[in-house]
Symmetry: C2
């Protein structure tokens, strides 16, 4: 089950005199999420200048590194910061506004009117800060977010200390931040021009809402702009059976094949959902190296369906895991999402072996990073990567006993077990408390916004 870290991760030359580093995390059970699923009992990490200098047993690290700051983490698991590869953060403001309704009623009588009436820079700022607080305290260090007024989301994530891909939402319809669809291209360019400097912690992106809300021309234009800027292009793909039928009627093709014809499919294209992909589409996405984000809780709650994940994984597609927005989840806990991903496909397929805990944990870490094109820097605890690290306290009844740390992370842990979080070596959560954002103040702001939003509801 466990393996010691490869010796090669500690340069031999250092074995004589210890090297001083910024930080040593000592004595945790390290779940590296490297490609070989290496775990190290009584492990340690040496961190310097925001990156991982070494991973090994506590003896190996102790022999070779001396930390200016040392955090003792016995009785803790250490894992890479989780990656929420698809959400709409500011929708925390609509969390639980409506549930258990027919999809069209939920969308057209609740969510769209609420967004049209209430989404503005203030809501995006406070809603995104609330989302960042929820995610960081639950062990998510990187998010791939898309919404309106996304420049305000960027500022909020910058302030929170999270790492983020930030995508401005694009539709050929009036949106809360651009009532005139003919100005959408200027709007997209302005988002990129004003994107904040963040020493690499934030990356811009553009998100065409869906093939049924964006014209072929718009999608191709946006993809071209993404190519010019070296950004990932995103879209929702095959979330519901109804949209697949609609697209087939309009263009005579299923969605993935339609996107291929537009020349949009490549390794820098990331599609969310993929619930109704058929075998030919999965093959097409695999051949074009497109990445997917699996969002089971949202797809289930909205009765959209269950993505054919075992087939998607077997095709070798890079798959990340996402919570989707809070209107349809209703939280941003990626541990809960992992538990759902590991369970629902077993029930759907009747096969208890599909979508193992190891595969799911990789979706939330290394493969999420690969889906975002960011795996050279994040997604696993390996030498040279950014020190985005999460610690979980094992001294809880529901995590006792422990036979297999990966089983616990997927089938028993929850975000509330997170005690420490580091992003690029900076401690942003200590003892479960967020250091970067005044969480009480943010909750108070969102409650005030919600009082207005709730008053507009007739339920």
């Amino acid at each position: 089950m466990c393996a010691t870290s490869p010796r090669s991760s500690i340069p031999e030359a250092l074995a004589v005199s210890p090297v001083t580093v910024d930080l040593v995390l000592a004595n945790g059970w390290v779940v590296t999420c490297d490609p070989r699923h290496t775990t190290i009992r009584n492990g340690a990490l040496a961190i310097d200048n925001g990156t991982i200098a070494a991973v090994g047993t506590v003896e190996e690290i102790g022999r070779n590194y001396s930390g200016r700051h040392v955090v003792e983490l016995s009785d803790h698991l250490l894992l890479p910061g989780l990656i929420n590869a698809h959400t709409h953060a500011a929708m925390t403001c609509f969390r639980g506004l409506a549930d258990d309704l027919p999809l069209q009623e939920w969308l057209h009588q609740v969510i769209f009117p609420a967004e049209g009436m209430h989404v503005n820079p203030e809501l995006v700022t406070h809603g995104t800060l609330l989302a960042a607080a929820e995610m960081l305290t639950n062990g998510v260090t990187t998010v791939c977010d898309s919404y309106f007024f996304e420049q305000y989301a960027a500022q909020a994530f910058l302030e929170s200390g999270m790492r983020a891909v930030l995508a401005q939402g694009i539709l050929d319809l009036p949106t809360p931040d651009q009532p005139d669809p003919t100005r959408m291209r200027d709007h997209a360019r302005e988002f990129l021009d004003r994107f904040p400097s963040s020493e690499g912690r934030l990356r811009p992106s553009l998100f065409c809402h869906a093939p049924y809300t964006c014209s072929p021309d718009t999608m191709q234009w946006v993809k071209d702009l993404c190519r010019q800027h070296g950004m990932i292009f995103q879209t929702h793909l095959s979330e519901t059976a109804a949209e697949v039928r609609e697209l087939q009627q309009r263009y005579g093709e299923r969605p993935a094949l339609f996107l291929r014809r537009l020349g949009i499919l490549d390794q820098a294209t990331l599609c969310a959902h993929g619930v109704w992909l058929d075998a030919e589409e999965i093959q097409c996405l695999a051949e074009h190296c497109v990445a997917l984000v699996h969002t089971p809780e949202s797809n289930m709650k909205l009765a959209s369906g269950i993505a054919p994940l075992p087939t998607i994984l077997a095709a070798g597609i890079r798959v990340g895991l996402g919570t989707d927005g809070c209107a349809s989840n209703n939280d941003l806990d990626l541990f809960a999402e992992m538990g759902m991903a590991a369970r629902c496909h077993k029930a759907f397929s009747g096969d208890p072996v599909v979508v193992s805990a190891r595969e799911v944990l990789h979706m939330a870490t290394l493969n999420g990073a690969r889906a975002l094109g960011w795996d050279s820097e994040i997604g696993s605890l390996e030498v040279g990567k950014q020190a985005d690290i999460v610690a979980i306290d094992l001294r809880k009844p529901h995590l006792t006993p422990l036979y297999d740390p990966i089983s616990h992370l997927v089938y028993a842990a929850s975000g509330s077990d997170v005690t420490h979080v580091w992003v690029a070596g900076q401690e942003v959560v200590i003892g479960g408390e967020l250091m970067t954002v005044d969480v009480r103040a943010v909750m108070a702001e969102v409650r005030q916004l919600a009082a207005v939003i709730g008053a507009g509801q007739t339920r």
Copy 2:
């Protein structure tokens, strides 16, 4: 969405001079789980002699009752203690021992050998105490438990302060506590003879493992004994498609119809799982007033399938919610189980309206109590019922904002949000800490047992 409490819950005669009661819980948002789903914002409860004396707004309770002890709970939800209607508590010792294996391999190469080798009074005592600690701190106040050496489970639950139905497991096969199946009837009688006195907090029961592991004769004998003692009779029913086929081959009938022919179906029969019930069987169970326990997380993880819950609920069957044992869940968090129940049927049926948050919350409270035949005393916050009450702290990012408390309980909360728990008016959890059991000592005991169990595994 919210309604004030019926005035009739506060006797008019008391309106003149306040009555002194043991305890007043003030200023919480009270989710009563009464049959009308009443919730009371700025609510309060008056508790005396272990029972609920009054429920109402904080003004109504303040006018009529004076508490010797008052707990201020603004920013909290108050709800009835949750009811875990099906588990095998001591299996906490096997939590995460093996996952993601084919069912027969998991059962016959891991779980059954581990049980045969390690289940003894010591394991049942410590494993059950660990389960009680996990459940109480997660807001479960009543459990319906079945396992071997169940008299030791009874002592553990008694010590923990939980309320419990305790069922000795019966098989026509050698078991860890009775290697000689011909002595099983004496064994069952001895369990009942030695059942501890508990002032009504513990109730005995018998659990025939399944129609495919107990002979018709055994099942009828056990049901007769249950009738003599006024106890509920329990069995696993239609958990897997394979067992349904096996039973049909052996007896020529599907399981529910077979049990009807044995004369076992009545309102004091409680069946767990019901995954593969067909329409005729559901009708049969409804006509005989049989109760069911839904266990979606376990059924999904083992790839057993998804019970036809919308049809079962439409037939008017009393349905409780259960976690099943930790070998197949892998935790005992009934909040997670509620979230799964509310989501999985929407995905399976393609209908986002089925199995609403309100229905699911009732499964975990009032309908769970009805399934156990205990609803005259527990399951809702109503006058005259036992004061089994849970408080949840709303001052968390993932519970902000709040439009509908029932939505949050099912779709966003987790067991870790529980701050206070009372059983029969006794405070057993304060600030998330269990008062009745030395949780650190219990975890240490279980870790020692697990070191031996894990050493016996070849994985």
